[in-house]
């Protein structure tokens, strides 16, 4: 029944379809791309969009359409991996704090409060500073910035769920703590986290692209969208397509994931609807 409701939700279907197209384009980039995204062509530097280069070329003559396709792999990977990091660590912290309570709860939630004192992107910047500027560290940094959100939601859910009779019954039957935590509690508290994770993908992609735009994420010559925008910034007056193409790619991907996330929330957890 939930799936039928999902298929009737226009936003979810539209966002899902658009995201599927983007994911397929990224996965099939080696087959679709007309040229190698790293190959330099000094004869075609800053060529405008046309029949030979669909989205034009950049300052080194590299085909922008190919770089946007391959860049999709990096941005989507960054979004998924960073959200996974946030989700897993947030779940661990939230479950520990909510289930064990007392001192454990105090220590964990004060740590989470400290993380919350830093605005999201600044926390990611701080993490990149500690880890070093690279694509992998940008993924970790963006993941760290999302931990407080998942930890707080999970803790709230666990506080409610652990009072349920099935938990008491499991304890009475002698089930070990790990079975209660992972076998009983986790399946019952995961739904809101999945909804938030879907909504968080768009934010993570933007954070990751922002770090690369500032020179703190992916490094040249990687075809990453934020980095491509940064490289195009200096040529805005003479080659606007260098900034337009990767920016449009980020916008469409984030919009698709936001539509999908809103739809998943409306269908699976209407309490959170705005």
């Amino acid at each position: 029944m939930l799936w039928r409701r999902a298929l009737r939700h226009r936003g979810l279907v539209l966002g899902g379809a658009l995201l599927l197209v983007i994911v397929l384009a990224a996965v099939l980039a080696p087959q679709i791309a007309p040229s190698d995204p790293l190959v330099v062509d000094t004869q075609a530097m800053m060529a405008p969009p046309g029949s030979r280069h669909l989205l034009g070329t950049d300052a080194l003559g590299r085909d922008l359409f190919s770089r946007v396709l391959f860049g999709g792999r990096i941005s989507l990977l960054l979004g998924v991996i960073s959200v996974t990091i946030s989700l897993v660590l947030g779940l661990l912290f939230g479950i520990a704090a909510g289930y064990f309570g007392g001192r454990v709860d105090e220590v964990i939630m004060r740590f989470i409060d400290v993380l919350l004192a830093f605005p999201g992107l600044l926390l990611a910047l701080l993490a990149v500073f500690a880890l070093g500027a690279s694509l992998t560290n940008a993924m970790i940094a963006v993941g760290i910035s999302g931990i407080p959100l998942f930890a707080r939601v999970t803790r709230g859910e666990v506080l409610t769920a652990k009072e349920n009779l099935y938990v008491e019954a499991a304890r009475a039957l002698g089930a070990p703590e790990r079975v209660i935590l992972w076998g009983h509690l986790l399946p019952n508290i995961i739904a809101p986290n999945i909804v938030i994770a879907t909504l968080r993908i768009g934010t993570s992609i933007i954070f990751g692209a922002s770090l690369s735009f500032l020179g703190l994420g992916a490094q040249a010559p990687t075809p990453e969208w934020g980095l491509m925008l940064s490289q195009g910034r200096g040529f805005l007056a003479v080659a606007w397509w260098m900034s337009f193409a990767p920016g449009l790619a980020i916008f469409l991907t984030v919009m698709a994931s936001n539509l999908l996330g809103d739809g998943v929330r409306d269908v699976f957890d209407p309490r959170m609807s705005t």
Binding site: A117, L122, L126, A209, L229, I250
Partner: protein, 285 residues
């Protein structure tokens, strides 16, 4: 924060002097001068003691006090952040109220599409699009620089749009819930003008959720200010922080991130305290 910066592989002295090929004894001397050879807790105690006196150390690159550098750049960031906040609140509230009052119509749909576009557009892209249109093509506004309303307009708009989109969604949702309540029906039955019903009776009760989001959005604006100041070549703490991170300037990174986080915490404290003003049922102490 201090701990996170401490674990950075290779400190600023190493990266600074690696470029000049300095001798190991010069590196050691400079580390002693800046206290970077001390154990972690000694360094932290020194930092904390000085910070409480308003001394955040000296920039390793610029050799000026961090507090001086922050004080010089702070006004520009405050100007940008509050300008963006004004854009967010004015446009967000306006769109949200219109969408709620015209719920279910094409106005509502268009408003929410505009909101979706706003929240999906990366700030650095919208900033570049604004520069391309209003500076390069039309020549109406300066592409870069700090100072004056003209130089503030595009950065504030670029930074504020995504916040406006989120505020619009929350306002719409919150107002729709309030407009369905009994006392609103009573107000309409009494013959009050719709404008009075919405703005005086409904909005004051919908504002709690909106104020909460405004507080959270302030943090997003502070983070976004880093990107906007780089895009528009504006002075500010964000630009200072980005440069300090790139050059591994520990004291400057500490100072700028601390300043931004302090501002974020203070604003959210004001948000918490304002709840009692909007809803007299909420009182602290």
């Amino acid at each position: 924060m201090f701990g996170a910066l401490y674990v950075v592989p290779g400190d600023a002295i190493d990266s600074m002097l690696a470029e000049t090929g300095a001798r190991p004894q010069d590196v050691a001397r400079l580390k002693r001068e800046f206290g970077l050879d001390q154990p972690f807790f000694t360094q932290y105690r020194t930092f904390l003691t000085r910070a409480l006196r308003g001394d955040l150390g000296r920039s390793l690159r610029q050799r000026i006090p961090v507090t001086t550098a922050i004080a010089d750049q702070l006004p520009a960031t405050i100007e940008l952040t509050f300008g963006a906040l004004a854009v967010s609140i004015i446009i967000g509230l306006g769109l949200g109220i219109v969408a709620a009052v015209r719920s279910g119509t094409w106005v509502d749909t268009v408003t929410m599409i505009v909101s979706l576009v706003g929240v999906s557009m990366p700030i650095f892209w919208s900033g570049l699009l604004l520069i391309f249109l209003f500076s390069l093509k039309l020549g109406w506004l300066p592409a870069a620089g700090t100072g004056g309303l003209a130089a503030l307009t595009m950065p504030a708009f670029a930074l504020g749009m995504s916040g406006a989109a989120i505020i619009a969604r929350v306002t719409r949702s919150s107002l729709l819930e309030v407009l369905g309540r009994e006392y609103v029906r009573t107000a309409r039955a009494k013959g009050l003008a719709e404008r009075v019903v919405v703005l005086r009776h409904a909005m004051s009760n919908a504002m709690i959720s909106v104020i909460t989001i405004v507080g959270i959005q302030f943090g997003a604006l502070l983070g976004g200010a880093v990107v906007v100041e780089v895009v528009f070549g504006r002075q500010g703490i964000g630009f200072l922080a980005a440069e300090a991170i790139r050059t591994k300037d520990f004291p400057m990174v500490q100072g700028t991130v601390l300043a931004a986080s302090l501002a974020f915490v203070l604003v959210n404290l004001c948000v918490d305290l304002s709840y009692g003003w909007f809803d007299p049922r909420i009182r602290y102490g």
